[in-house]
């Protein structure tokens, strides 16, 4: 059971990115941004610049792997895909998220 610190925001972004790549496969940074916006029906609009440090950090940690490729418009772009370690991390982070939301709901209900 993990105690939740102020790293919540960073952890949440990680979770979203990992889940997106786990279900969509190989995407570049812009596509990830669009997908998250689209699925969350524009509720989640992250400051897009913060995506890249996060994605680089996750690649360093071994949860994603990156490679250069050609986009649909024939421009060079860096594509990311999730690794096995990444899937494990996704599992853990999803559980932590569920715990967090439960805890918040409990406090709201009973405090």
């Amino acid at each position: 059971m993990r105690t939740h610190t102020n790293d919540r925001l960073k952890g949440t972004l990680d979770l979203l990115v990992l889940k997106t790549l786990a279900s969509q496969g190989r995407m570049h940074g812009y596509a990830i941004t669009l997908r998250i916006e689209q699925i969350s029906e524009n509720v989640l609009r992250l400051e897009e610049g913060s995506l890249y440090p996060a994605v680089h950090r996750m690649t360093q940690a071994g949860w994603l792997k990156s490679e250069w490729g050609l986009s649909e418009s024939n421009r060079r772009a860096r594509y990311y895909s999730i690794t096995a370690a990444g899937r494990k991390q996704l599992e853990e982070e999803s559980q932590d998220w569920a715990q967090l939301t439960e805890a918040v709901a409990r406090v709201l209900k009973l405090a």
């Binding site: 812009y30 897009e48 610049g49 913060s50 680089h56 360093q60 418009s73 060079r76 772009a77």
Partner: protein, 171 residues
Amino acid sequence: MGCLNRFSNMFRRDKMNEELEEELQFHLEARRRDNRNAGMNEEAARHDATRRFGNTTLAKERAHEVNIVMGIETIGRDLRYALRSLRKSPGFTVVAILTLALGFGANIAVFMVVNGVLFRPLPFPDPGRLFLISYQSREGGWVFSTGIISNTSGTFRRLNRLQLSTKTPPL
């Protein structure tokens, strides 16, 4: 990314910066294009793209930081792991340390001698003029003769003569 990648990242900084720049530009370009396709004019499209992106310089710096800092953190972690595994196999550790000590010791000893003999200048104002000649004499022993070559006349003045042989020395 393996530790090899992390290590080489420290040296490929320029290339990494370039690639990062390219990656961010791609994003901004793509957003701009989508905005234009949605009907915005050029100015508004670009403005919206940069606004959504936030601070580009900051993003670039933080992404770059991540690549560098992770390298340094993991070196500390690797060092601690190495120390732990050395502690677990004491036999190997002892042999390794002894070998290193032997190597160091030998090197230091040799260098000390060489330093004292070869690198220290001779206590003589012009050591280039000193000479030592050695030869084997007819009787079978060795003769050593030292002297100084004069710097003016090209002649020499003999200082010492040492003869080592089994026969009685000449008078």
